[in-house]
């Protein structure tokens, strides 16, 4: 029997505010344990939360980026459960009236367009972090407690592990573009739970789903979904029933294990949070947020292809990374040869970026210096090889200008026709045999003569000029 996989995601994304969602403690990754805490985020009795304006604005932006309807009325509820990372024994979240509803994300999955529905986006607070295995028990760090989160819930529209990966990549690109989150899965600022079910191809009803938790990388998302799909198909083919349950993904062992069954499913007893008042947004608020939205990657990519004539693939790679796209935009403003800039980025720049821990971001390549190098190359002042040397030097971060580097490394090509002509004449005088052969149409000799001139100029003559001058000079002989 052929099976179809049905996947829905719940993505938690930490917002890049300066402070926490309900108090003025720092929202900052790292930091000594329990140094970003106050009565509000410690859950002290009597402490009152106050909503962070920036978190509301970021949630609205995220909603706009995912084509959601922005709710003019939203409010907070308490989600009750006991877990030691939650000091109040409830998480302040949004239940009935989330801040964004009904959106969609358009994907390109191996050339095929796919639209994935977004059910809702709601605001909530993050829990603390449990550090296991120290102090003979577990240590609780509440720095992360109260960090603003948005939870993005998709419709069960994804049909393969690959689609889920492409969706998450897109989500990450969009959310980092609009600067609402840095979306670093390895630092936990983007986390994702996956709902998976399978059904025979052609069947309309969904199969029984399982929820997978503890997935910490895009690779793990793919592996976890594929494992879960195979597990469910095996069960069905063995005539067994799939139980609705929550499972924990173990990425080291590559298996998922039962966390809790449907019978033990949590009853969160949501109720309205009396400490926080509703958020009411006017049409004007929403219009202003729309105006403040930066250009999203898809739009930017289309523009690069349309206006700058970049190949689709190159435009996709450059717009896929916000800082790379910003760098490209700065370069184009300084030097209008977009194709040349793109070629160098796609080639040498990205190749070198791989040597850095955080890729391009860590390179600290200055657009001004980079385009100075390209201008020198374009004007024939340096050779392509010389340009690569300049780029290497720029990346050492000594702050030297391109002009200084060219001079110090003696990279300047001689484009001065007079100087080159002098060498050409000398070389031709010294090789009458070759001149005769060339005049007789033996074009192979050209390479030899070029080589002689380049050697005499210590490699600095502009090859284009040398070529032209030899050909012109031959005619006169």
């Amino acid at each position: 029997m052929e099976f179809e996989t049905v996947i829905g995601l719940e993505v938690h994304c930490e917002l890049a505010t300066r402070t926490k969602i309900f108090c003025s403690c720092l929202n900052e990754f790292g930091g000594e344990p329990n140094t970003h805490c106050c009565p509000v985020c410690l859950g002290m009795p009597g402490a009152l939360p106050v909503m962070n304006r920036a978190a509301v604005e970021m949630a609205v932006k995220a909603g706009l980026a995912l084509n959601c309807q922005i709710a003019k009325f939203s409010k907070f509820d308490r989600k009750n459960y006991f877990y030691p990372d939650l000091p109040k024994s409830y998480q302040t979240s949004q239940y009935e009236y989330p801040i964004c509803l009904k959106g969609h994300v358009d994907l390109d999955v191996n050339g095929e367009p796919r639209r994935i529905g977004i059910t809702r986006i709601h605001l909530e607070e993050d829990a603390g972090k449990l550090v296991h295995g120290e102090y003979g028990g577990t240590m609780l760090d509440l720095n992360r407690g109260g960090v603003p989160l948005i939870e993005i819930v998709t419709e069960p529209d994804l049909r393969s592990a690959e689609e889920a990966r492409v969706f998450l990549e897109k989500l990450k690109a969009d959310l980092s573009y609009i600067e609402v989150s840095d979306c670093k899965m390895e630092q936990g600022s983007l986390r994702c739970d996956v709902n998976v079910s399978v059904r025979p191809v052609g069947q309309k009803e969904f199969g029984t789903r399982c929820e997978l938790k503890n997935i910490n990388s895009f690779k793990a998302v793919v592996r976890a979904i594929e494992y879960e799909r195979d597990r469910q198909i095996d069960l069905i083919e063995d005539g067994e029933e799939i139980k609705q349950e929550t499972r924990r993904w173990d990425d080291v062992k590559g298996v998922s294990l039962v966390m809790r069954s449907k019978e033990d499913a949590m009853d969160y007893r949501y109720f309205p949070c009396p400490d926080l008042v509703p958020i009411v947004l006017s049409d004007e608020d929403i219009e202003r947020a729309k105006r403040e939205m930066p250009e999203l990657p898809d739009v930017k990519k289309a523009r690069y292809v349309r206006e700058l004539a970049l190949p689709e693939y190159d435009a996709g790679v450059i717009t896929g990374d916000k800082s790379l796209a910003a760098f490209f935009d700065r370069c184009v403003a300084l030097f209008p040869n977009a194709k040349m800039i793109s070629n160098w980025i796609m080639g040498d720049v990205l190749k070198k970026a791989k040597e850095y821990e955080n890729g391009f971001d860590d390179m600290k390549l200055d657009a001004g210096a980079f385009t100075d190098m390209l201008k020198a190359l374009d004007a024939g002042k340096i050779s392509a090889g010389g340009a690569k040397t300049v780029l290497d030097e720029l990346l050492t971060g000594t702050g030297k200008s391109v002009g200084q580097i060219i001079e110090e490394k003696k990279l300047a090509q001689i484009s001065d026709t007079g100087a080159i002509l002098k060498i050409v004449t000398e070389v031709l005088d010294a090789n009458p045999q070759s001149v005769a052969e060339l005049k007789a149409g033996k074009d192979k000799v050209m390479a030899f003569l070029m080589g002689q001139v380049m050697r005499a100029s210590k490699g600095k003559a502009n090859p284009q000029t040398v070529n032209e001058l030899i050909r012109a000079e031959i005619k006169n002989r």
Binding site: C25, L26, N34, C37, H132, G137, M139, L140
Partner: protein, 93 residues
Amino acid sequence: MDIKEVEATARLAKIELNEKDKERIADDLQRMIDYVKQLQQIDTDGVEPTSHVVALQNVLREDVPAESLPRESFLPQAPDASDEGFVIPSVIE
């Protein structure tokens, strides 16, 4: 309110009850529910649900950091703590 519902409620609240308590509490809770149930007699068709008892909205704070508490001030209040954090029994769900 039967014993099963009392047990489920106790489990959610993480409290232990003996058999005698369960019966007494079932009885108590039933009376409370009956009392509150009177509200259901009121016709609320067309009445918007109350979201908050005070008529305020958009009480927002600017995203500006303020000083946090020194951890030495609150960690010692916990039943168990190290210099850096709260120490709790090992939990692996």
